[in-house]
Symmetry: C2
Subunit: 341 residues, 2 copies
């Protein structure tokens, strides 16, 4: 009785509930009941035991396709992203969404579209055909989007983006709060002449972070000095160029729009032999692990909450969390203190 061939691992998986029922000497209904631990149905301990045994004797696995079909809805959540490969950000969104989805018994269907409208439509159609419970539409940086029409056919939630017409619930980082946090990191260290190297192109981040910077300054009773805010076009190169100006204008600290700008700035400072944070304190934004944690000295920064954005996205999608009226839901950007302040 020990050298029976083990049926458990054949590739095709034709072990159905009926097989289990036959082996256990019960009906499929009974099997269904014990498999799902149905509350209402009382099954005798004996039968239950026989079923359990048959199940692992045969290596039975429920067939979700059938299960979902009969229930009319699947337990899939679609996630369409515009740039999975280019940044680590999308990965964090996926990760957050996946974990939260799992927690509620859902599975993620992922599609990358590279921002191509046709690919998006195709992805959404595919998800709809799979009867997804809803779709998370996400971008890798915070911005306004023009959503594909097909999104309207299901429950959709925008992640790290928003539609200007407020058609869908949206979840975005709190840029203003983040700008404030970054500035406060510097303020708390006693700095009063704090420069801000901002991006040049307008965006929710560019505007929001600036506003946060001004608010923090105002709260600290420091007059805003626009000599101290610079706008750069490139990231690393811009930071490098801005380095000199910042020094000339007598700043003792600088808040960089993002970590990459800080990275360029570091280069300039190193060349000029100015020490961080001794002679100039710097804080970044984004918390791009690869950069921030490994610059010399490690960069204090403010994190973009991508993981949380993804997680909140599924919560909202599942109706577990509310979003304010027409407004996007704001997720806080927490400070990450390292050694540059």
């Amino acid at each position: 009785m020990a050298n029976e061939p083990d049926r458990r691992d054949r590739s095709a998986h034709p072990v159905t509930m009926r097989d289990v029922a036959r082996v256990a000497g019960v009906s499929v209904a009974t099997v269904s009941h014990v498999v799902n631990d149905k509350a209402g149905a009382r099954i005798g301990a004996a039968a239950r035991e026989r079923v359990r045994q048959a199940i692992d004797e045969l290596g039975y696995r429920p067939n979700m396709l059938a299960k979902n079909l009969v229930r009319g809805r699947s337990r899939f959540i679609g996630l369409v992203a515009d740039a999975i490969a280019t940044t680590p950000f999308a990965g964090q969104i996926i990760q957050g969404a996946q974990k939260e989805a799992w927690k509620h018994g859902f599975v993620l269907l992922v599609a990358n579209t590279e921002g191509d409208r046709e690919a998006e439509d195709e992805a959404i159609a595919m998800m709809l055909e799979h009867q997804v419970r809803g779709i998370l539409y996400s971008t890798w940086y915070h911005r306004a989007v023009d959503t594909p029409a097909a999104l309207g056919e299901t429950t959709a939630v925008l992640v790290d983006c928003y539609s200007p017409d407020g058609q869908f619930p949206a979840i975005v980082p709190d840029e203003v709060g983040g700008g404030r946090t970054a500035t406060e990191l510097l303020l708390a260290a006693g700095h009063r002449r704090i420069a801000f190297v901002n991006a040049a192109e307008p965006s929710p981040a560019q505007e929001g972070r600036l506003r946060g910077y001004r608010e923090a300054l105002a709260d600290a009773g420091i007059a805003f000095d626009d000599e101290l805010v610079l706008a750069v076009h490139d990231e690393q190169d811009g930071g490098y160029e801005a380095g000199r100006t910042v020094l000339q204008r007598g700043a003792t600290a600088v808040f960089c729009y993002n970590d990459r700008i800080a990275m360029g700035l570091y280069d300039r400072l190193r060349e000029q032999g100015v020490s961080i944070p001794g002679e100039l304190a710097v804080v970044g934004f984004d918390n791009q692990e690869i950069i921030a944690a490994h610059l010399r000295p490690p960069l204090s920064t403010v994190a973009l909450p991508h993981y949380e954005l993804g997680a909140a996205g599924v919560r909202v999608l599942l109706g577990l969390e509310e979003v304010p009226d027409g407004e996007p839901l704001l997720v806080a950007c927490p400070p990450v203190s390292r050694q540059s302040v």
Copy 2:
């Protein structure tokens, strides 16, 4: 006839084939045939047209759950990854896999496990229940893995990792070739004293790249000098420390085990005022976009082919591509020339 409410976008999607059949005045079989453009079945142009019209009048979408159920297999491919969020690498694997899967009409089911065995088992079980066609098991850096038992229940392919017992087909980067490529980049620029700052911990990458380095040197008729190969433990910090030694030993070029080591090395060189590539040429490895493309000067490096790894993974899984006997399939690491050589 114009103010009929548009049924197209109600969230629940109860428009079935039967509805279409009724509206078009045909049978469901006919609808099925036109929807699937069945080769064998000849449908009259008139009926075909009526069906088409009914379809978009009602906003009908096929129900994949039902379709897959009746066919016995789904068109899902599972991808289990150990670190989606921490590096951009996983994103590239996902992206490659997703695109290739799509091309063949498959959809990706993604699960992140953070390397936790229990999470892996759960993920695999879930995928199996969804009747996936197969599973891609991937890691974010090239290494040997001990595969979860449940993988054996389906077709599995290892991506960026391999099982020592060769139980599953595996696809990994060609580290030796990559090491060679990196070295040749330097050789081609006329360098003869080329240092190699390697990682200290043994790994396929650590061993393979070193071998490639030696082979390239040998091919160029340059004697191997072990004074010129350094082993560092940390990445950025290690590179920084190694900088001095490299200079002392009279190297005119250096091949860094990865871009992060190169990043640390850059810092040291900048401090000592040595110019790149004028006084010292450097090449990295990995092609971590964020770092390599934005260092000053931009770093020449060798790319890890994650995208291709993922794509090849699904091809192998689908039986579209063969892997050598017990060996992993090697994917080339192409050079990326920027300005540090």
